[in-house]
């Protein structure tokens, strides 16, 4: 008998007390928890997102489409980045003002190469107001998972209001589980020293979120 059969056999014997006609999954789990915590206008939802991102030390900017390229230029300059990592489907106009050298996200680049790039600019799949979270799903304007990980400075553009949801349940509804997802809530942090939160370990130490609408 192989281990698969052995384990499944043990499970079945262990569950001999479970009646065959037990309540099915659909009715076994009460879903009377809230879809969203409180009622908010769209603007209030955007503000809550900004507030919660800021609370976890992300830097939040608000702008419109016309001003976006200049803002990105300013942020890259302020960080002193001469190179910027770019997912292949990033709208080209976003980087139309910056002089930083565009480094395309390519499968063949080594992690060491990416480690020498100062900043990365991505879009996002969805942003969650109640938790101050942005979610990346590897779409063309977001790129491979590693590009938002290795550079020390991540600029993430969120389209307002269409990419913002209120809550975690609403975010999961919108996301495709077959894509690799990265949920980001503030810059990298640790609570490992005396259970106090300290920002800045392995992921980007600077997270800037631009709300464009």
């Amino acid at each position: 008998m192989n281990s698969r059969e052995r384990i499944l056999g043990r499970v079945r014997r262990a569950l001999a007390d479970v009646p065959a006609d037990e309540t099915p999954y659909e009715r076994a789990v009460p879903r009377d928890y809230l879809r969203e915590h409180g009622e908010r206008t769209t603007e209030e939802t955007v503000e809550l997102l900004a507030e919660n991102l800021t609370d976890y030390r992300a830097v939040v900017h608000r702008t419109n489409r016309e001003e976006l390229p200049v803002l990105i230029m300013r942020l890259l300059d302020a960080h002193g980045s001469r190179e910027v990592l770019v997912p292949e489907g990033l709208p080209p106009e976003w980087l139309s003002a910056t002089r930083a050298l565009r480094v395309e996200d390519r499968a063949t680049d080594t992690p060491d190469r990416l480690d020498r790039v100062g900043s990365v600019v991505t879009g996002c799949a969805v942003a969650v107001a109640e938790t101050g979270t942005i979610v990346l799903d590897g779409s063309p304007d977001q790129g491979r998972r590693r590009i938002s990980l290795i550079p020390d400075h991540h600029i993430c553009v969120v389209r307002v209001p269409e990419q913002i949801v209120g809550s975690v349940p609403q975010a999961l509804e919108r996301l495709d589980p077959s894509r690799p997802l990265t949920w980001i809530s503030g810059p990298s942090a640790t609570s490992d020293i005396e259970l106090d939160r300290v920002e800045g370990v392995h992921g980007p130490r600077a997270l800037e979120v631009i709300l464009v609408g």
Binding site: V29, L149, P169, P180, T182, G200, V201, H202, G203
Partner: protein, 491 residues
């Protein structure tokens, strides 16, 4: 469960040592009190916490009661998404599988994300014996590994170390594992985090094999979920060419939607955050993004034995948030090492004896490592009635009875003499140096409600044999504890 901490003294002796160590007690007290207050605030933000907790409990219970079906479904969906599924009946088999998979890549080092399952099976030691070096990359795990130490907390394995000790460990040890700590490293947490960042960077960037656990596995989609803070998890999950995840079979949830419950309750319960900095989900492999090969090792190692116990199986609902540790007055004083297992605190006291049996003195004494105050039950985001399971296991230790070990039905013999009750008295004795506290602790506090109508089982019977069962105190133990000595004696 592999004998991680071989030769450990039984809980009361180990705890006595810990209680006598003022630095350890100070560190633990500081850390657990910090997190408790924050957690209360994070939980209070959600008006539907009680409903989320109940949904979490029901999702896990339902999954466990149909685990065979969900395991098969998970296997099919992971395989369809490009992953390879392996089954490991015990620690030794899991270690053998992982070692073989690493060897097949031709590599001699792996980077690891913090994982309770791989600690439980002693994977690092098994790899070391096969000539493979495993680098722990979670900050606290790194502190433990560099300090040649043992983990003492589920979430923060180095919780017993303060910043000064961490600075000394980094300065002394980093050089022999790779890049040394910077000259004149201070004990500022930010500087310590920076030292870890620099030390581990080169290892991440060259890593070809990553080893992880997972917080959840979704049967319907084959998706695995890792919840973390530092970004070391993302490094290990995305940079290597091969990813090997070792996950206990109880980590399944049926549907993608079920994550909406746990992604709300887990971060708030564990680090007291609205959301932890990073959560990664992946389904098999993705072309040109992340590892090209993904292996999932499904681990039993005592879980099916636990499942066979109708009272004890609820311990398998645990999502390893560590809230029960942080509120436990016994843990706060005894520290994690006294529990002699990778699972310390209240959850360890009910999980370890079930996973590896109560044959050793330490494991037989674990169900006594509690005053039954009930704070753990209240804190638990999946409502595990830890006091109920503790009493059940005490009964098992004292009276023996039927159980399942390694898949076989056995009849356990009662522990010799009244060793168990003596252990209980000693455990209580060290934890509550105050005689009044000892008496109060023995009164099953009002919050372990369900126990009262029954005659006291196990050691309780031994107690009531020689004295009257006291009335349940009007004031719950935990409140009494907070009001009186709980806050005063660590200084």
């Amino acid at each position: 469960m592999s004998g991680t901490f071989v030769g450990m003294p039984a809980f009361p002796e180990a705890a006595r040592d810990a209680v006598g160590n003022p630095t350890l007690r100070g560190n633990l007290r500081h850390a657990t009190h910090t997190i408790r207050a924050k957690r209360d605030r994070a939980v209070a933000e959600l008006a539907d916490w009680a409903q989320l907790r109940e949904a979490g409990r029901r999702i896990k219970d339902h999954t466990l009661r149909h685990l065979d079906r969900y395991l098969e479904q998970l296997e099919a969906s992971v395989t369809a998404a490009g992953g390879t599924v392996h089954w490991a009946a015990d620690a030794e088999e899991a270690n053998r599988i992982v070692t073989r998979l690493v060897k097949e890549t031709g590599e001699s080092e792996v980077v690891k994300v913090k994982s309770m399952a791989t600690q439980e099976i002693g994977l690092n030691e098994a790899l070391e014996a096969a000539g493979v070096r495993a680098y722990e990359t979670d900050l606290a795990e790194l502190i433990v590994q560099l300090g040649h130490d043992r983990p003492s907390h589920i979430l923060v394995p180095a919780i017993h170390r303060n910043r000064g000790e961490i600075r000394d460990i980094f300065t002394r040890e980093m050089g022999s594992w790779g890049r040394p700590a910077p000259e004149g490293l201070t004990d500022r947490p930010a500087d310590l985090a920076e030292a870890a960042r620099v030390h581990l960077r080169e290892k991440f960037l060259r890593a070809k094999v990553g080893v992880s656990g997972a917080n959840f596995m979704v049967a319907e989609t084959g998706t695995l979920v890792v919840v973390e803070s530092e970004g070391n998890g993302r490094m290990c999950l995305t940079l290597p060419e091969t990813l090997i995840s070792v996950v206990g079979i109880e980590k399944i949830v049926p549907t993608w939607r079920d994550l909406e419950v746990f992604l709300q309750t887990l971060p708030r319960s564990s680090t007291a955050e609205r959301m932890n900095p990073y959560t990664s989900t992946w389904t098999g492999t993705t072309d040109e993004d992340g590892p090209r090969a993904f292996h999932l090792v499904l681990l039993d190692n005592g879980r099916t034995d636990t499942l066979a116990d109708q009272v004890g199986r609820q311990a398998l609902r645990c999502i390893r948030c560590s809230a029960c540790l942080n509120v436990c007055p016994v843990y706060e004083r005894a520290g994690g090492h006294a529990y002699g297992s990778v699972y310390p605190g209240p959850i360890g006291a009910i999980l370890t004896p079930q996973l590896r049996g109560t044959a050793s003195e330490i494991d037989a004494s674990l169900p006594y490592a509690s005053s039954l105050c009930g704070a753990c039950y209240e804190a638990c985001p999946v409502a595990i009635d830890i006091p109920e399971v503790l009493v059940h296991l005490r009964e098992r230790v004292v009276q023996g009875g039927p159980a399942v070990r390694r898949g076989n039905k056995v009849v356990l013999r009662p522990a010799k003499g009244h060793a168990a009750e003596r252990a209980a008295m000693r455990a209580a004795g060290w934890a509550f140096a105050h005689p009044g506290a000892l008496r109060t602790g023995q009164r099953l506090a009002s919050r372990s409600r369900r126990l009262h109508p029954r005659t006291l089982p196990g050691p309780g019977r031994a107690w009531t044999g020689s004295r009257d069962l006291p009335a349940v105190p009007a004031e719950p133990f935990r409140d009494w504890w907070q009001r009186t000595r709980g806050g005063k004696d660590a200084k």
